[in-house]
Amino acid sequence: MIGRESIRIDEVSMTYGSSKILDSVSLSIGKGSVVTMVGPNGCGKTTLLKIINNLLKPDKGRVLVEGMEVNSMPSHRLARIMGYVPQGHRISFPFKVRDVVITGRMPYISAFSSPKREDLERTEQALSLVGISGLADQPYTQISGGERQLVMIARAMVQQPSVLLLDEPTSYLDFKNQISTLKMIKEISRNRGVTVVMTLHDPNHALMFSDEIVLLRKLNGSREENVIAFGSPNETMTPQNIQAAYGMEVEILDVRGRKLLLPV
């Protein structure tokens, strides 16, 4: 399932004002894998996600997606390859859910035209893919935070991307919806061969749903590297690595063949 390289991050550095967020980060992400970035607040995981999507330009380094450099690609080409789901999205106008999702067809629609039948059909498919066909005519402003998250995933899916980026997809969801959304994301990746890169706050979620985990630390002017570990969940989520990332002690429990992190 996990084949050749989908995303390559090459010595990416990023500074906000005087504080260095990312220092020469390099990663290679395989096609069709689910990769989660985990780390404390301010470790630069969202920044890295935005750099991958060319929403931010790094000070140094480059990002290649399917062999092409993201910041030299025409924006509509990039948007056909990559979908992005922002964190906690709000809008001022009560657009219908369907009208929000269909904006994901933007990279396929030429400047002076509007969505056509095909775009509408793909929108309906995406709505049913994430299980919200019933919400199509609801105003986006009147649905719950969890439903909005699904709308934005559907919007990214109508871009027909081979890479899906998600920034904290569970942040506004309740206990059950966190799990069901992550399950769905993983299913999308498995069924369609979509590469998923997401950031998550909860290391246990990362353990449960990732093929690989990137564990990041916050730079404190030291010479340490951003990336503490990058690899399979079992390799990366060790008590030592967690200690290095968060500065806290955890115990690893084996429960029914699954690993669980427990703060001590």
Binding site: N53, L55, S75, H76, R77, L78, A79, R80, G83, Y84, P86, H89, R90, I91, S92, F93, P94, F95, K96, D99, V100, T103, G104, M106, P107, I109, A111, F112, S113, S114, P115, R155, A156, Q159
Partner: protein
């Protein structure tokens, strides 16, 4: 080759969508065709009422060159007074509404007006200069040039590293408005009483000085701008969802923002130049359309044109015929618009700014 029945069947097929339109579709048709009844009603209002039939007769007699059965004063009233005024009112209403709707989409805020970037203050200053200090300068050119200058400088002030943040634009607009307000005050302070009077009167916004030449000045800008905005209208939906959201689906954000701001500004400046500052039309009309048809710009933008045209021509009917003297139409639109603004402000809580 159709048989009789074949033709009838064909006809039914064409008409069916019309006959079985849903309620929403009927409303849509009504809103699209509204300028027509508004035009006919307005023709009929005034000292010399002209009905639809009489209008047809007057126009035909001109076209065919045969004698008119009505008194010739009707011909004069229609061609020299009422037609230019009605057309100008429609154009101004359409332009201010489409401009307002567009900027509201870009700013993602229903409270934004076409004048948010300093357009009206610039125009007022330019017009005042033309009326007093530089009498050689045509009034319309002065107003037009300075309104563009005002918006242009707000845009450049807000621009940094090739990006224009919406909140910076708003603040730059505030500053530019104040600066041109102060410059206007200098002119008003310095000129004689008669010039002062005309400056103040211009600022109120009126259509009473309508003429064919004013229609001709504004028409090309309004027409071209409206066509452009109608062609690009779906992109406003993409933009209205947020800037990062728009960029992540591949929109060249700064380019589109530039195109939308320039077009909305040209359209509004052209009509402000010929009619003065007619306030809050750009707020009321898009709001009314949104209340009935929702926020989708694919519908909102074209309907802003037709509803805006109808709205202002009808309000102008009130301005010219409801009282024994003529009221500047800008005063009426502002008084009508204020409650709408307050309603929107209450409804959106923080005023829509995140």
């Amino acid at each position: 080759m159709y048989t009789r029945i074949g033709i009838r069947a064909k006809l039914l097929e064409v008409l069916r969508p019309l006959l079985f339109l849903s309620r929403g579709r009927w409303l849509l048709f009504f809103a699209l065709l509204m300028p027509l009844p508004a035009f006919l009603i307005s023709m009929n209002i005034g000292t010399y009422p002209v009905s639809g039939l009489e209008l047809a007769e007057i126009i035909l007699s001109r076209l065919m060159g045969h004698d008119l059965r009505l008194p010739t004063v009707y011909d004069t009233v229609v061609f020299n007074i009422r037609l230019p005024r009605i057309l100008l009112a429609m154009m101004v209403g359409a332009a201010l509404s489409i401009s307002g709707a567009t900027l509201q989409g870009i700013f993602r805020n229903p409270l934004v007006s076409p004048f948010i970037l300093g357009l009206s203050s610039g125009a007022a200053f330019g017009a005042a200069l033309a009326m007093s200090v530089f009498p050689w300068m045509p009034l319309q050119i002065g107003a037009f040039a300075f309104s563009l200058l005002a918006v242009g400088s707000a845009y450049l002030m807000a621009r940094s590293k090739g990006e224009v943040a919406v909140i910076s634009l708003v603040l730059a607009g505030v500053v530019v408005s104040s600066v041109f307000g102060a410059l206007l005050a200098i002119v008003q302070f310095a000129v004689d009483a008669r010039s002062l009077q005309s400056i103040v009167y211009w600022n109120m916004g009126t259509l009473s000085t309508a003429s064919w030449s004013k229609v001709e000045i504004a028409a090309p800008w309004v027409l071209a701008g409206c066509l452009m905005l109608i062609a690009l209208r779906w992109r406003l939906n993409v933009l209205a969802l947020g800037e990062e959201e728009a960029r992540s689906v591949g929109m060249n954000l700064e380019r589109y923002k530039f195109v939308f701001i320039v077009t909305a500004t040209l359209v509004a400046s052209a009509v402000v130049a010929v009619a003065g500052i007619i306030g809050l039309v750009g707020l009321i009309v898009p709001h009314m359309v949104r209340m009935v048809f929702g926020p989708d710009h694919r519908i909102l933008i074209p309907l802003s044109v037709t509803v805006g045209a109808s709205f202002l021509v009808l309000v102008d009917d009130v301005a010219r015929a409801a009282f024994s003297f003529e009221v500047p139409v800008g005063i009426i639109t502002t008084l009508l618009g204020a409650p709408v603004f307050i309603y929107l402000l209450r409804k959106t809580r923080s005023g829509g700014w995140e």
